[in-house]
């Protein structure tokens, strides 16, 4: 499918052909993941470092990185499992030492149940890692003030959640995301909770620069087909945004205006 959008996604110093970012967890096999990633057309995929073997040895039992085709996409290491800034910073540094890009998706969630991000620790880790030259993409609750603080700290994107990870509830935080988009100085990537292509299209239509999908693709009956469905939704949502959607109104426009007496 040829993209009709006019603007490419630029994060940090890199440009990406696709506005669909994909996560690599929850797939039924590494092969299934590999196929779905290809089908998504994504140029940026994120992987939990806790699943990978970070020393130099080859480990057939922790080889998720071997299934990620680095010629197709940039690997975005994420810090899932970190409960505070110190842990996230440590694992980001280890990733670089292991030869991965110095890009990091910060996921700091002390609560293992809802996996909601800790705003304070996320800001701290962003400050530290930006100072060390990392390109930092923080996953956050949809909090506009936090988004501003992170941009001040040098974050390359902000990644507000639509709803809790894995919930498939869509854009529960829509009104907050709208404020974040309106105020954004960096790309806004809506991350988490997007369960259907229509949710992804909605996020793109309201002006998000990209979306990140994982669960909805990984647990689909046919992950590659679902990845393609999301790619189309992201594309069409973006096109509509760039064209400019008509405004909506709850009131009908009267055919006989009250001000008709004023004449033409």
């Amino acid at each position: 499918m040829t993209s009709r959008t006019t603007q490419t996604l630029k994060i940090g110093d890199r440009e990406f052909d696709s506005r669909l970012l994909v996560g690599t967890g929850k797939f039924s096999s590494n092969d299934s993941m590999k196929e779905a990633l290809r089908a998504s057309g994504s140029a940026l995929v994120t992987v939990a470092l806790k699943r990978a073997n970070l020393d130099s040895s080859e480990d057939p039992f922790a080889n998720i990185l071997d299934f990620l085709e680095t010629e197709r996409y940039l690997i975005l290491p994420n810090t899932a499992g970190a409960m505070n800034a110190e842990e996230a910073v440590r694992i980001a540094r280890l990733a670089v030492a292991a030869g991965l890009p110095n890009w990091v998706k910060l996921e700091i969630h002390p609560d293992p149940n809802y996996l909601l991000p800790d705003p304070i620790e996320t800001l701290k880790a962003t400050e530290t890692l930006v100072a060390e030259g990392f390109t930092v993409l923080p996953y956050i609750n949809a909090d506009p003030v936090l988004a501003q603080r992170l941009q001040d700290a040098g974050a390359a994107t902000v990644m507000p959640l639509g709803s809790p990870i894995g919930s498939n509830q869509g854009l529960d935080t829509r009104s907050q995301i709208e404020i974040i988009v309106e105020q954004a100085r960096v790309p806004v990537v809506v991350d988490a909770g997007i369960g259907a292509p229509s949710h992804a299209a909605e996020a793109m239509e309201l002006g998000a620069d990209a979306v990140l999908i994982n669960t909805a693709i990984a647990i689909a009956n046919d992950p590659p087909a679902m990845a393609r469905a999301f790619a189309k939704a992201v594309e069409s949502g973006r096109e509509a945004y760039e064209i400019g959607l008509g405004s909506t109104s709850k009131r009908a426009e009267a055919s006989s205006p009250l001000t008709a007496f004023l004449g033409a």
Binding site: K26, R51, L54, G81, M83, E86, E87, I91
Partner: protein, 411 residues
Amino acid sequence: MKLSFSKIFETIDLQGLSEISAQTRTSEVQRVLNRGEANSLEEFANLISPAAEPYLESMCRLSQAVTLKHFGKTMRMFAPLYLSNECVNVCRYCGFSRHNDIPRITLSIEDVEREAKLLHEQGFRSILLVAGEHPKYVSNGYVESVVRRLSQEFPSIALELGPLEASGYSPLVNAGCEALIVYQETYDEDTYQSLHTAGPKKHFSWRMDTAERAYQAGFRRLGIGALFGLHDWRREAISLACHAQHLSRTCWKAQVSLSLPRMRPSAGEFEQVEFLPDHHFVQLIAAFRLFAPKAGITLSTREPAPLRDGLIPLGITSMSAGSSTEPGGYSAFDESSFTPIDEQPGEQFHIADERPPAVVAKAIANAGYEPVWKDFDQSLLSEQSAKEPINRPDDQTDKADPVESLDPLSC
């Protein structure tokens, strides 16, 4: 002021909840299933009721969907590594019980390494260290040394030992442990007292509050469970659900995982009180999933292969495989098949699924799930926890009887 679970548990109307379960109407089951989750202990009691039995298929479908959403198509793999079968406790149902005439052994660090290497070769990066309770042979220093020796090769180390104070756990967390597993065995205090007749394990509430002390010391995963077969299974299940609910509220940074082990044959020839049949076992798993959607649920090799394979897509998130329950047991396995050659006389209990790990992994893949061998990294563990506990207790008032004050050998 926060109360520990043993205090909360005293206020729970178990009899009332059991009656709710016994008297559940079909419409109540349907209401919970229509919503897709059990939001209270009462609704959990509805799901384990006789009235819910005809809805087992619906419950399993819901359980599958909820598990997929939160855990994806993955299965975390682990294996137990038994360090010692020395034990000062008398537990009538356990193969390690003090008076049982079995060969007793505590592995040297070198022996532990040999066993660990065998498990590592099979793929395991997550291990559960298990030992009987014996202050002389299984000292904290010994366990800490073992953990330090293994933490380079095993990103995830869990412990199942005699309960300790939080201060006893801290050095073990700092050495590289991620999870603590402690089963209450039975939540019925009278039954508990009749089964645990000597040793520090006699202390019902001290054991009950173990998970909270472990949390204070910084453990990230807390495993709890009941041993089904010792008492009425519905009462045990309601108690366990109550415990899980309490921990998820008070230990909010820890993941709670549940185990529902059923009695297996062991030395001592204990006759179980109430057998939990397969269909009730499956009902229980689905009910727990709908009550605690984000809790891990572990399935061990206690269960036979066909049942384990059937349960893979129904709510389980973690499985052991190729297990030996005897210290040094893996070294006595057949090298090529990784299965026991002979009887293991020093085992805690006899397992039912003796398939080697690769065969179990294949069964998981055939079910459409990925066996995940590594899902944690030692680099995540905070160095700061080496200096102080990371989860400050809200409350210092509810100290249970410290084991240190007991003389276990004189019990």
